[in-house]
C-alpha cells in the first residue's frame, strides 16, 4: 500500500453557525493525481486551507506528507506547492521578478523548469503582473508552483481563466510531469472532463461532507444507470441504489455497486431491464450532489470514504 500524501481524520471546520467542513476523512496516495470535486461552497477551499495551515480545524486533524499541519507547517511548505483559487500576486512585479522572489525560498527550485514552462505556457515574463490577462496571471501562478520541485502540488481550481488550448496543454504537462517525478497532485476543479481525463482518484464534497472518495476507474466501473419497466417496481433507495426516478412506466435506478445483482433481482421480481448504462463522471457527480429530482432521496454516502481503494 502506498503511504498517503494527504490524510485527514474527522476534519471539521465551523465558522460561527456555519458548518463548512464536517468530519472529512481524505486519503490521497503518494504519487497519485487526485481530483477534488464539489459545488461552490461545498467546503473544498476550506479543506485545502486546513491542509495548508491557513485555517485551523475545529476538530479532527490533517497530515500532509506525513507531517502534522498544526505543528509542522514550515516543513510542509518546503515540499508543497500551492495555487490558491485567488489568482493574485504582487501587481508591480513581473513574472521574472516573481521567479526571483520565489526561488530563494526553495532549495529544490528548478530554473530549467521555469524556462520550460514559461515557453510552454507562453508567459510574457517581462510585463508587470497587473498588466497580464487573467489567463496569463493564472499561468504565472502555475509556473511558480511547477518550478518549485515540490513533492505535492495542491491546486485550487488551477485551470480557471485558462483558454481551452492552454488548459489542455497544462493538464498534459501536469499529468506527464507528475508521473515522471512521482509527485502527488491534489486539485479541485469544476471542470469534470478535466478531472476525468487526468485524475486517478476522485473525492466529491457537498455541503461540507465528503460524499465519496475512490479510484476513478472503480467509480466508473461500479456506478450504473439501470432502466427497468414493469409493475410494482421498487421505489426505495438503499446503500447501493442512490436514487430512483419514475418516468411513466419506466424507472431509472442510479446504482452505486453490484449493478448486475440488482438487475437480476429486478428481473426475478418480474421487471424487464431495458438498459444498463455506464456513466460519465459528470453524470455521477450530478447524481451525487443534485438536490432533488422527483422520487429521489439522493443521500450522502454513496461509497463511504476509503471503503474500497484505500483499505
Amino acid at each position: 500500500m502506498n503511504p498517503l500524501a494527504i490524510r485527514t481524520d474527522n476534519l471539521s471546520k465551523v465558522y460561527r453557525d456555519v458548518h463548512a467542513v464536517r468530519d472529512v476523512d481524505l486519503h490521497v496516495p503518494r504519487g497519485a493525481i487526485y481530483g477534488f470535486l464539489g459545488r461552490n461552497g461545498a467546503g473544498k477551499t476550506t479543506t485545502i486551507k486546513m491542509l495548508l495551515g491557513l485555517a485551523r480545524p475545529t476538530s479532527g486533524f490533517a497530515r500532509v506528507l506525513e507531517m502534522d499541519t498544526r505543528t509542522q507547517r514550515i516543513a510542509i511548505f518546503q515540499r508543497t506547492a500551492f495555487v490558491s483559487e485567488r489568482k493574485t500576486l504582487y501587481p508591480f512585479l513581473s513574472p521574472s521578478d516573481l521567479v526571483r522572489f520565489s526561488r530563494g525560498f526553495y532549495p529544490t527550485w528548478s530554473d530549467i523548469a521555469v524556462e520550460k514552462y514559461s515557453r510552454l505556457l507562453e508567459i510574457p515574463m517581462k510585463r508587470r503582473f497587473e498588466s497580464l490577462s487573467n489567463g496569463n496571471q493564472t499561468k504565472v501562478l502555475l509556473l511558480l508552483a511547477l518550478s518549485q520541485g515540490a513533492d505535492l502540488l495542491i491546486l485550487d481550481e488551477p485551470t480557471t481563466a485558462l483558454d481551452p488550448v492552454t488548459a489542455d496543454e497544462f493538464l498534459r504537462v501536469l499529468a506527464g510531469d507528475a508521473m515522471e517525478r512521482g509527485c502527488t497532485v491534489f486539485f479541485s476543479s469544476h471542470q469534470l472532463e478535466e478531472v476525468e481525463r487526468i485524475a486517478e482518484y476522485v473525492g466529491v464534497m457537498d455541503r461540507g461532507k465528503l460524499l465519496m472518495e475512490s479510484r476513478l476507474d472503480d467509480i466508473k466501473s461500479e456506478f450504473r444507470l439501470i432502466i427497468a419497466t414493469g409493475n410494482s417496481l421498487p421505489m426505495e433507495t438503499s446503500s447501493r441504489v442512490l436514487s430512483v426516478a419514475s418516468d411513466g412506466c419506466y424507472c431509472k435506478y442510479f446504482v452505486t455497486r453490484d449493478a448486475e445483482d440488482f438487475a437480476a433481482e429486478l428481473t426475478r421480481d418480474g421487471a424487464t431491464v431495458t438498459q444498463t448504462a455506464s456513466l460519465s463522471l459528470r453524470e455521477i457527480f450530478l447524481h451525487l450532489v443534485r438536490k432533488e429530482p422527483p422520487c429521489t432521496s439522493g443521500n450522502a454516502g454513496a461509497i463511504p470514504a476509503g471503503s474500497s481503494s484505500f483499505s
Binding site: S84, L89, Y90, F92, F101, F105
Partner: protein, 228 residues
C-alpha cells in the same frame, strides 16, 4: 528577496518623504531670506519640523509596510512560503524602520547644513548639542513607538485605515486619560517619549523602544495564529 519586495512596496512613498525631509529647512531658510531668521529661530525650527516629519512618516509607514499583503490579497501566496509568518512581520517592519531612520537622518543633515551655512557657527545650534539632544531623540522615540503601534494595529486589523485610526486613537486617548488623571488625582502616567518614573532619560528611552519591539512581537504572534 522579501526585503527587496518590501522596499519595492514602499520606495515611492519613502522617496517622497525623503524629498520633503531634505527640502523643508532649505526652503524655510530661503523663504525667510536666510541669515538673521536662521540665527534666531533655526535650531527651534529644525526641531519642530523634525518632530512633525518623523511623526507623520511613522504613522504612514506603519500602515503602508504592514498592509501590502492584505491589500494585494497575496497573503495566501506569502504565508505558504517555508518561513514563519513572524519572519515576514519582522522583515517588513525592519525595512520600514530603516526607511524611517533615513528620513530622520536626511532631515537632520539637511537642517544642520542650513544652520551651518547661515548660522556661521553651527556647533552653537547644532542638533547634537547636549542641551538640545532630547529635542531630537524624544521625537525619534515617539516616532519609533508610533510606527510600531500603527504597524501592529494594521497587522491585527488587516486594514490600513483601521490600523492607522486605532493607533492615532490610542495615542490621543492615552494622552487625554493621562492628563485627566494628572489633573484630577495627580497620578502621572508615563507617556512616550517622556521619562518613566524616576528613571534617567536614556533608560526611559530604551524602555520605550523595548515596548515598541514588544508590540511587533505581539503582532507577529497574533498573525502566526491567525487564519488567512
Amino acid at each position: 528577496m522579501y526585503i527587496w519586495k518590501c522596499w519595492r512596496d514602499t520606495r515611492w512613498f519613502f522617496l517622497v518623504f525623503v524629498a520633503i525631509a531634505a527640502s523643508v529647512m532649505p526652503f524655510a531658510a530661503f523663504a525667510n531670506k536666510g541669515g538673521p531668521a536662521i540665527r534666531s529661530f533655526g535650531a527651534m525650527a529644525l526641531a519642530e519640523t523634525f518632530a512633525t516629519i518623523v511623526a507623520a512618516a511613522a504613522y504612514a509607514m506603519g500602515t503602508i509596510t504592514a498592509i501590502q499583503e492584505f491589500t494585494d490579497k497575496t497573503a495566501h501566496f506569502l504565508f505558504t512560503k517555508p518561513r514563519s509568518r513572524a519572519y515576514f512581520v519582522w522583515a517588513s517592519w525592519i525595512v520600514g524602520f530603516g526607511e524611517l531612520m533615513i528620513i530622520a537622518s536626511v532631515n537632520l543633515l539637511s537642517g544642520w547644513c542650513v544652520l551651518a551655512h547661515y548660522g556661521g557657527s553651527p556647533l552653537e545650534d547644532f542638533p547634537l548639542h547636549p542641551i538640545n539632544a532630547q529635542s531630537y531623540v524624544g521625537p525619534l522615540i515617539y516616532a519609533i513607538f508610533a510606527y510600531a503601534l500603527t504597524y501592529s494595529f494594521t497587522i491585527l486589523f488587516r486594514n490600513g485605515l483601521k490600523g492607522l485610526g486605532a493607533s492615532l486613537g490610542v495615542m490621543a486617548g492615552f494622552v487625554g486619560i493621562a492628563d485627566a488623571l494628572d489633573m484630577r488625582w495627580h497620578i502621572q502616567l508615563p507617556r512616550p517619549p517622556g521619562q518613566i518614573g524616576g528613571l534617567p532619560l536614556a533608560a526611559s528611552n530604551v524602555i520605550w523602544i523595548i515596548v515598541a519591539l514588544l508590540l511587533i512581537y505581539g503582532a507577529a504572534l497574533a498573525l502566526e495564529r491567525a487564519e488567512i
